[in-house]
């Protein structure tokens, strides 16, 4: 292998692929039965973390950064003057195998710029996955990007070798897409998604009758949206995320704060701050929807089209709905416990278990790990000193903010700092 050439390509193509945030390697079932290489069963593993704090779990590269499209938000757009490179299929296979054997990665995340046309590109991606599975006996995780506009036959084949498939919708609104990526059509994105969804359903049904039905994308499909590139509200983003969860059986929707990569009048200029706090709030909302039993219109609606910056979405919901509180932790059902700000699902489970033995008081709750600084205003327990003052939402919010420190506080606080 020509080391220097590979090294150069890897630098270019890894650099171009890093804006894809998805890096999960969990949820697949591919046990190593053939004494081959790799085993991806159940949990994912983050093998390292980059200095921006993001997980490195897969070898995330583009097959090539040549692209026929000119999407304004994308670093590999046609009109951008950057170095271009392309991997050979065998080179990607070798890199993956050798990284995997050294326990650097969980598998491969392969994406690509679109060269010639969608199908031609998709075929190349599939060829890599096929080679890994069939020739190298590789049972590790493979995440393939579905190229917008790829044909149904190819999407079917891709699912046979990949663990997860994803299409990045990137722009949450159709109007935004028209503005920033005029060559792409909304249907191009949804078509492969729909095919994958239908195949997943078909697999599930056939599996019931024929146990040996070949696996189809066992870790499901995911998508990604850029946040803060066009003027969309949090409501727009979360409603379209809900749409994808519901109608396309998505495993995950990722939100990616827009990192300015181009001087374009349609976009935030280079050097403007990445909206990390907003991204964080969107993920919190996503979790509330998927695990905490919230409906999206409870958190975001026409009266509240954007999430609060200074408090998390659950607390903000609670402050708007004080009529549900205080909740008695020794009696309330799980659903209501999960809605108390400061209580995570792990704490809820522990409380439900522990209260079978005795009534819980502040001391127990503290030891279990409940964030009492927030939770204490919203619950009562087996203790006499709960919050008995008649506080309104504004006061509670003020007291919580006063007694806590947020890592993003300096971004929105009006308080000038004495140093720095």
């Amino acid at each position: 292998m020509n080391f220097e050439r590979i090294r150069e390509k890897l630098n270019i193509l890894a650099d171009a692929a890093k804006y894809d945030v998805s890096c999960s390697s969990s949820g697949s079932k591919r046990t190593n039965t053939n004494k081959g290489l790799g085993d991806s069963s159940g949990m994912g593993i983050c093998h390292s973390y980059t200095e921006d704090g993001r997980c490195v779990s897969l070898l995330k590269i583009l097959l090539t950064n040549h692209c026929i499209f000119d999407c304004a938000y994308c670093v590999t757009r046609r009109s951008n003057d950057i170095k271009r490179a392309a991997f050979k299929i065998q080179e990607v296979v070798d890199l993956t195998i050798n990284f995997y054997r050294r326990n650097y990665i969980e598998g491969l995340f392969l994406s690509s710029g679109i060269f010639k046309n969608a199908d031609y590109t998709m075929e190349r991606l599939i060829a890599v996955a096929k080679k890994l599975r069939q020739e190298e006996n590789f049972n590790g995780y493979i995440h393939l990007k579905s190229i917008p506009g790829a044909s149904d036959e190819l999407m079917y084949e891709a699912g046979l070798y990949a663990d997860r498939l994803s299409v990045n919708i990137e722009i949450p609104t159709v109007s935004g897409l028209k503005l920033l990526a005029p060559d792409k059509k909304h249907e191009d994105f949804t078509k492969p998604m729909l095919k994958v969804k239908n195949e997943l359903i078909r697999f599930k049904n056939e599996r019931k009758i024929i146990k040996s039905t070949p696996k189809y994308a066992p870790a499901g499909q995911s998508t990604q949206m850029i946040v803060g590139a066009t003027g969309e509200t949090d409501k727009d983003i979360m409603y379209s995320a809900t749409h994808f969860y519901k109608n396309f059986n998505m495993k995950r929707v990722y939100y990616s704060g827009y990192v300015p990569v181009a001087d374009d009048s349609r976009l935030p200029s280079i050097g403007s701050q990445v909206p990390m706090l907003r991204e964080n709030r969107l993920y919190q909302t996503d979790w509330l929807l998927r695990f905490y039993g919230f409906a999206v219109n409870e958190i975001l609606n026409n009266d509240h089209p954007n999430l609060d910056v200074d408090v998390d979405p659950k607390l903000s919901w609670a402050l708007r709905n004080m009529q549900h509180f205080p909740v008695d932790v020794n009696k309330a059902d799980k659903r209501m416990l999960a809605r108390i700000p400061g209580l995570g699902l792990k704490s809820v489970q522990k409380i439900v278990n522990a209260r079978k033995f005795r009534k819980l008081n502040w001391d127990h709750l503290k030891k279990i790990g409940v964030a009492l600084n927030r939770a204490k205003y919203f619950m009562i327990c087996d203790s006499r000193n709960w919050e008995s003052r008649d506080l309104d939402a504004e006061k509670i919010k003020g007291m919580i903010l006063q007694h806590s420190a947020g890592k993003f506080r300096n971004q929105y606080s009006t308080q000038l700092s004495l140093f720095n």
């Binding site: 890894a14 790799g38 593993i45 200095e51 050294r102 326990n103 990445v274 278990n353 079978k356 033995f357």
Partner: protein, 258 residues
């Protein structure tokens, strides 16, 4: 009144379970259970050395497992934390478990139960970290070799993971701190101890135990690690939170900074 006793065992998990068995069988008033090597006798208690007996250990193991599968793994994990005094906490835990009819292991309002579950969690976390942070280097005799220095004795816990993952390559993971390792010879995993004259952490100096190609891959990995970083999102605090500094010296991607 019966004399209170300190039990000494050989440091193995089976040894500990035997000690628990003895304590139950002879209805001892146990003051402490200690490792032979760390034995420290109390002023008002007698010491008794317990000899490991696999049969007895198995009975305790089965007894706990019959109560709950979760409990037995909690006990094993917490034991591997090697924390000082964990044996006595475990003994109290097992007694409580046996004395209660319903799932005592989920009573998180009980101090002992919570303590054991927290210990088991941190050992579990370390196990998971080791599954992530082991970095194999290919030696000239075709063995994938890694040094580790985990906080807890997690080698017995990670062996299955690596065995099923790297079924077609020989590998050796060596715990530098506890001076033993596990070696997979393509058939099964065995425990080994080595006379390492050199600990292979990620220094820039190349050792001749490894192939040149090995260093090429380390360079590629190092490059990859750097190119996947987004500079405008830098967050070093989060980075060190996820990859604590004590692990850096064995991570090839942290080569220059260690």
């Amino acid at each position: 009144m019966q004399n209170s006793k300190t039990l000494l065992y050989d440091g193995s998990f089976n040894g500990f379970l035997t000690a628990v068995f003895v304590a139950f069988e002879e209805k001892l008033d146990v003051v402490d259970i200690q490792r032979n090597s760390k034995g420290q006798s109390g002023l008002f208690s007698e010491t008794e050395t317990v000899f490991t007996n696999v049969e007895k250990a198995k009975r305790v193991w089965n007894g706990i497992r019959n109560k709950s599968n979760n409990a037995i793994s909690q006990v094993y994990f917490a034991f591997l934390s090697e924390e000082e005094g964990v044996e006595l906490t475990l003994y109290t835990y097992i007694r409580k478990l046996m004395a209660t009819r319903n799932a005592k292991q989920t009573d998180y309002s009980d101090g002992t139960v919570l303590r054991i579950s927290k210990l088991a969690r941190s050992v579990g976390r370390e196990k998971h970290r080791m599954e992530a942070f082991v970095r194999f280097q290919l030696t000239k005799d075709n063995i994938y070799f890694a040094n580790i220095e985990p906080d807890f004795d997690v080698l017995p816990l990670i062996s299955k993971h690596f065995r099923s993952r790297y079924a077609d390559q020989q590998w050796l993971i060596y715990d530098v701190k506890r001076k033993y390792g596990i070696f997979y010879n393509l058939d099964y995993v065995e425990m080994v101890s080595l006379n390492l004259n050199e600990i292979h952490f990620n220094k820039i100096h190349k050792s001749n135990a490894f192939l040149n190609q090995e260093y090429d891959y380390q360079t590629l990995w190092n490059d990859y690690f750097k190119s996947s970083n987004i500079k405008s999102r830098i967050n070093r605090k989060l980075h060190t939170q996820h990859v604590p500094k004590r692990y850096w010296k064995y991570l090839s991607e942290k080569k220059e900074t260690a």
